[in-house]
Subunit: 425 residues, 2 copies
């Protein structure tokens, strides 16, 4: 059957559901270059305004998956379960969670990305470890899942390759912030990755790209439904991203903090969120093990070491902060009412830890250590943030971005905690 | 000041008005190739959904005009007044109206286009006259306006050239049917053409691209406001386009019918609409002459002959219909309740009179003669339509398209007349 791009666009524009045939045709023709970029961007904008019904979104996601290869994780001796976070500041959870859940008996194929803008990327963080390499073949992934149980590596270009083109197009045409488009982008890759189960960490708040609980709920429900309809057991947790997660924001700084948690220490919010997500993951694959035990008895850390070594990294390498150092202090006494994750994230980016374009390099040692959390009592002159950069210019930019990132007031702020809601099918 | 395309797109997408600076930047940058086609199409789709406020649309139209040259019609001995029709089936009014209004003492710079799809183009019709040429220089236009008083010619590439790119983009991205985009496209060219006054014939009904009176009213008001804000005295008439205008639909066929009207005969609906639009045009430039007299005394026809000759055409050439001929007859007796302009327009197109792409040639002699109008009494076997084509294949396609174009019933249909509403500032 033959379709026309204009008919597909105007069908969606005028509020009707696209047929399976229309969706399949338009995405395949786009891949073949027969539907032009300007036609696809008009369709994406129409989707932004009109949304997609469940069935449309399922078909759309199917076509994205079918645009490339799928990994086969069948035949492994353990069930596979993955986690995806929509992106936060100081979010190093994957580094701890993957080895922890493997230590509990599942295998974790964590195919990850790099950071862009004010949120860091898991691969950038691990690349601060000398020798560690992000690129694995599909065979290497399977072998490591069997031997170590955990893999954190780059999602190959073969998984849902159309997403790369669609994302690049959305990025320049103002069509990023659409729930069906976000959901299909995330879920097509996770489903193609072949995981049996998936836990979604949907961030909401000042430092997240989703600012309201209602929208987070909508995104989470949409992704859970997509996962379940493709045979992936899926649960979502909505978690607060108003202040940074933990103290460290920056690549090597976050690896160091992750190791602290893997050794039974570290900031309590990082530990608590990791354990909550680990319990969800284990629950989905029916493993009845208390992950707190595996953190405290060192077995998660052992898996972490093996995982780093299996990918060429030296887990004993000493990771040092960048050489240029500064401290920001409180200009008044009182209670810390706000530590703005967005401000801290942008500061770490400006200091050199992040990138504006995906080709840009990142600094391993640059970043911010947050010395206070919301609710802390501080006195005038007390340090709030430590800054690390490779040179004075980056330091100055980071300092500028941190201005106003902490607010000090007279009243103790009300804490809502990190774990907000749980969304299941 | 510097802007980003994504910011402009998301501003409109999220329902805010674009600033003058944003509009000017985005259209100029698009012309320079710095805003990509896929960004412009996303913006156009956002405009489709969000519309434009009066001020935005004025600025947008200003920028379209500023993208090219403007004709200067100052210094002519007569006031200039033009007419624009949004496009109908059998709409040959310009061919009669331009010389008629010139015969009454105004000058008429009718810069026209070619047909696309089921509506014919004024230039295609005149090109069925041997020797007639559509392309004139700006100097030739001025000279002919002074000597003859009427010019019907191709709008040069220099007037609002960005419209050509925007229209081509809208055509493939499902963003044609937007009132602000239609209005700015039409009015930018008419304002750049330099006319002092303008009458808009906004077609509404089955054979028009606007189907409802509400939408026709909205388009007309928007265009009238745009014209007036640019110093062009503008009036719109909403006119019915449910059945074809006149009897002839096709290039040479319509020229022959136009000459009939210019000589005081022809179908009454064509004559009546021409006179109504002529009165509007003359009123706008303050000329108190009865155009009916100028039709009946032959002076409009004299101007027509001069106008055709001035552009190399032979007004005495005999225009013959295409050689392959057929008739469609009534299969029942009764009253004609519907003569579907869209069906007749598509049939004329299929017979060879129209084109699907702007590069395609058209047949001079192909087309349809409608032998009945709504309300006529017919007997079974009586002819309804005559068809003309250059070959049997086109004839068969035209016959197929005409199937069901006329409906015959038992009751006399209620006629609403052609002239529906008048819209002024």
């Amino acid at each position: 059957m033959s379709f026309s791009a204009v008919d597909v666009i105007t069908t969606k524009r005028d509020g009707s559901a696209l047929s399976d045939g229309q969706i399949t045709w338009v995405l395949e023709a786009y891949q073949r270059g027969e539907v032009a970029e300007e036609q696809m961007s008009a369709l994406l904008m129409a989707v932004f305004f009109r949304g997609m019904a469940d069935r449309e979104l399922r078909t759309w996601t199917d076509c994205m998956i079918a645009s490339g290869e799928t990994l086969n994780l069948g035949g492994l001796s353990r069930p596979s379960v993955d986690k995806h976070s929509t992106g936060g500041v100081g979010d190093k959870i994957s580094l701890i969670l993957a080895p922890l859940v493997a230590a509990c008996g599942a295998c974790v194929p964590q195919l990850s990305g790099r950071g862009l803008g004010h949120t860091g990327g898991t691969l950038d963080k691990l690349e601060s470890i000398p020798g560690w390499r992000a690129a694995l073949t599909n065979d290497e992934i399977r072998t490591q899942l069997e031997s170590v149980g955990a893999v954190i590596c780059a999602a190959g270009a073969g998984l849902a390759p159309i997403d790369r083109r669609l994302y690049a197009l959305r990025d320049v045409t103002g069509t990023v912030e659409s729930i069906p488009l976000i959901s299909s982008s995330i879920m097509s890759k996770k489903i193609a990755e072949g995981t049996h189960a998936l836990v979604l960490d949907v961030k909401v708040g000042r430092g997240a790209f989703i600012k309201t609980i209602e929208r987070a709920r909508e995104l989470a429900s949409t992704m859970v439904a997509l996962g379940e309809s493709h045979g992936v057991a899926t649960v979502a947790r909505l978690t607060a991203m108003d202040q940074p997660l933990g103290r460290a924001v920056g690549n090597a700084l976050e690896v160091v903090e992750s190791v602290d948690v893997l050794r039974g220490g570290g900031p309590s919010d990082v530990r608590d969120l990791t354990l909550a997500l680990a319990r969800e993951m284990l629950g989905l694959v029916g493993i009845d093990v208390d992950p707190a035990v595996k953190l405290d008895d060192g077995s998660a850390y052992d898996v972490y070491r093996s995982m780093i070594q299996a990918q060429g990294g030296d887990p004993d390498a000493v990771l040092t902060p960048a050489p240029i150092h500064d401290v920001i202090t409180a200009d008044t006494s009182g209670f810390v009412t706000v530590v703005d994750a967005l401000g801290v994230g942008v500061a770490a980016w400006r200091l050199g830890a992040g990138r504006a374009r995906k080709e840009d390099p990142v600094s391993a040692g640059a970043g911010v250590i947050c010395l206070v959390r919301e609710g802390d009592r501080v006195e005038v002159g007390e340090p709030l943030f430590e800054l690390y950069a490779d040179d004075d210019e980056h330091l100055a930019r980071g300092r500028e971005a941190l201005r106003g990132a902490a607010t000090i007031g007279d009243d103790v702020p009300v804490s809502i905690g990190i774990l907000l809601e749980r969304i299941t099918k």
